[in-house]
């Protein structure tokens, strides 16, 4: 087996529980992400999704285990791993444009001012922002616009891995939809590897190549890896008519509603790799492996 582009190996996170013992959030989690893949992780609160993301970003350290990206161990934050946070994390004293140029200048210190500026503007336009909002401060932008700036900033530094931490969690449903489209459009042109957290099942199906499902914590693990067998380009309206859509969606709902609880608790396995699940109704000839929760 070849090593994937990003390899998470036997990652565990434990905290002292305040009574002398430890609480294990997740244990021996192992999974991989291929270059150019869009992977979404789904799970209930408290299963450690955000912790995994912070470890991938280098903002937190795991109790045990390693993350290897592109042959090198991840330690500390780096420009190779861009992060879009749920609360946008724009610097409020800088204009939208300056929030991007500051990142671009950090990424490409040799570039001239003009280069930095045109590169930044290009990315702001890519996410659908027009020139008249470039000079506005984040407080003068709507939530959706702020998150666009944040996405533009992340794409502008072309990180090897893009981490999205519930990027649309704070947006209303309509805005969320348009920005999802925007994100898909920008992503399609880049071959960017993305790892994203969300709570929204439909969002996950729309965006992902693969969805990782986590069982409940404590002792959570990445239990399944569900392939999204719906061809790209996808869009929100047509995707629901694809024969695989509801099959996959039902599987996810079943998992989150029932099986994530049943699977909770410690295991004896030295390594918890997710089981691959492939649901494809368009190819009935191929015997579908694994259980189909319909």
């Amino acid at each position: 087996m070849t090593t994937p582009f990003l390899s998470v190996e036997r990652l565990s996170q434990r905290y002292p529980d305040g009574e002398g013992g430890t609480t294990t959030i997740f244990e021996n989690a192992s999974f991989g992400i291929e270059r150019g893949e869009f992977v979404v992780i789904l799970g209930h609160s408290g299963c450690g999704k955000s912790t995994i993301m912070n470890i991938l970003a280098g903002l937190a350290e795991a109790s045990e285990g390693v993350v290897i990206m592109d042959g090198k161990e991840v330690s500390g934050p780096s420009l190779d791993r861009g992060v879009v946070f749920q609360n946008y994390s724009l610097l409020p004293w800088l204009s939208a444009l300056k929030n991007v140029t500051f990142a671009v200048a950090a990424r490409y210190p040799d570039w001239s001012k003009d280069q930095v500026l045109s590169h930044s503007k290009k990315h702001l336009e890519m996410v659908g922002l027009s020139a008249d909002v470039f000079n506005r401060k984040p407080s003068q932008l709507s939530g959706g616009m702020r998150q666009r700036v944040s996405i533009a900033r992340a794409f502008s530094i072309s990180p090897k891995l893009l981490l999205l931490d519930e990027p649309f969690g704070a947006l209303d449903a309509l805005t969320r939809g348009t920005i999802q489209d925007e994100l898909l459009k920008v992503w399609a042109g880049t071959n960017q590897t993305v790892f994203m957290i969300t709570h929204d099942i439909d969002e996950a199906i729309l965006l992902a190549d693969r969805i990782l499902l986590m069982s409940n914590g404590p002792y959570a693990r990445v239990a399944e890896s569900v392939e999204i067998t719906i061809p790209r380009p996808r869009n929100r309206i047509e995707i629901v008519e694809h024969p695989n859509y509801y099959a996959i969606r039902n599987h996810l709902v079943q998992f989150l509603g029932k099986r994530s609880k049943e699977l909770a608790g410690p295991t004896d396995a030295a390594e918890n790799r997710p089981v691959t699940v492939r649901i494809d109704k368009t190819a009935p000839a191929a015997p579908s492996p694994k259980k189909l929760a319909v």
Partner: protein, 277 residues
């Protein structure tokens, strides 16, 4: 009837209050009786002598006009123009204040960044902060042996605390997300301090600076009354000794005006650094 704007109505009310206050002041001051109206007995008991009373506002205005039309004259150590006196005071305040800022802001940064430094220095700050700045004066005079430098030291010691505490508070309270933005963009410690932490904490720091300059201006008057020689505080005390109450009232007003101007300067600075989330 057309509605006047709030500002206009407030301005009119201010003027009414001002004139009413001045009229009241003028009215309550008992007029000196002219010598011709006195009885013989009153003349014999010294009733005709000029009584030192609180001067009416008209006299204060006259004094103000006289002083402000030639503020920078210098006729020896006991007779200098109001401009020169205020100039000395501002120089002392700024000298002590700048020294305090040079120490308080970097130190505040350190305390804000490091919980260990915060805990280690906190007891000292808590003990030293409530000490009245004038209590330092004898010690300063003894150690420094120079009244001018002692006044500056007193300003230094009174303006350092609000700046130190506010800087530490502002730096410690910088949102973790913004620091994470700096970290994920691989900014070095110095770049992070200047491009993220400083602008994020700037509103709190400038608030501390504004409180400090206000305290420094309060303290300089008292300090100059003690050390003497020059300055607006010395001027007030000197005119009191001269029993020239007109000058005393005039200089009290000037202290207020300069204090307001200093505060307004920091108000402008505050508008520059403020941001809304």
């Amino acid at each position: 009837m057309t509605e006047m704007s709030v500002n206009k109505r407030a301005a009119i009310l201010s003027f009414i209050l001002l004139f009413a206050g001045l009229l009241l002041w003028e009215a309550v001051i008992p007029a000196q009786k002219a010598a011709g109206e006195l009885t013989e007995y009153e003349r014999l008991t010294g009733g005709g002598a000029q009584k030192a009373g609180v001067p009416p506002p008209s006299q204060v205005l006259e004094k103000a006009w006289e002083q402000l039309s030639n503020p920078f004259y210098d006729a020896g150590p006991n007779d200098k123009g109001i401009g020169i006196q205020i100039g000395y005071s501002i120089y002392r305040v700024l000298a002590g204040y700048v020294l305090a800022a040079l120490i308080a802001i970097p130190l505040g940064f350190l305390i804000g960044m490091s919980p260990v430094a915060y805990k280690a220095l906190n007891p000292f700050i808590q003990v030293l902060r409530p000490i009245s700045p004038l209590a330092w004066m004898p010690l300063a005079l003894f150690i420094i042996q120079d009244s001018e430098a002692s006044a500056i030291f007193v300003i230094f010691i009174c303006s350092i605390w609000p700046m130190l505490i506010n800087t530490a508070f502002g730096v410690a309270g910088v949102r973790k997300d913004w620091v994470n933005v700096a970290r994920t963009h691989e900014l070095g410690a110095l770049r992070t301090a200047f491009t993220v932490i400083l602008p994020a904490a700037a509103p709190t720091i400038v608030t501390g600076m504004r409180i400090s300059i206000g305290i420094a201006w309060l303290v300089i008057v008292a300090a100059e009354m003690l050390v003497g020689g020059t300055g607006i505080g010395y001027y007030v005390w000197n005119e009191w000794n001269n029993l020239d109450l007109t000058s005393v009232i005039f200089s009290i007003l000037m202290i207020g005006v300069v204090g307001m101007a200093l505060d307004a300067m920091f108000g402008v600075l505050q508008r520059f650094v403020v941001y809304s989330e």
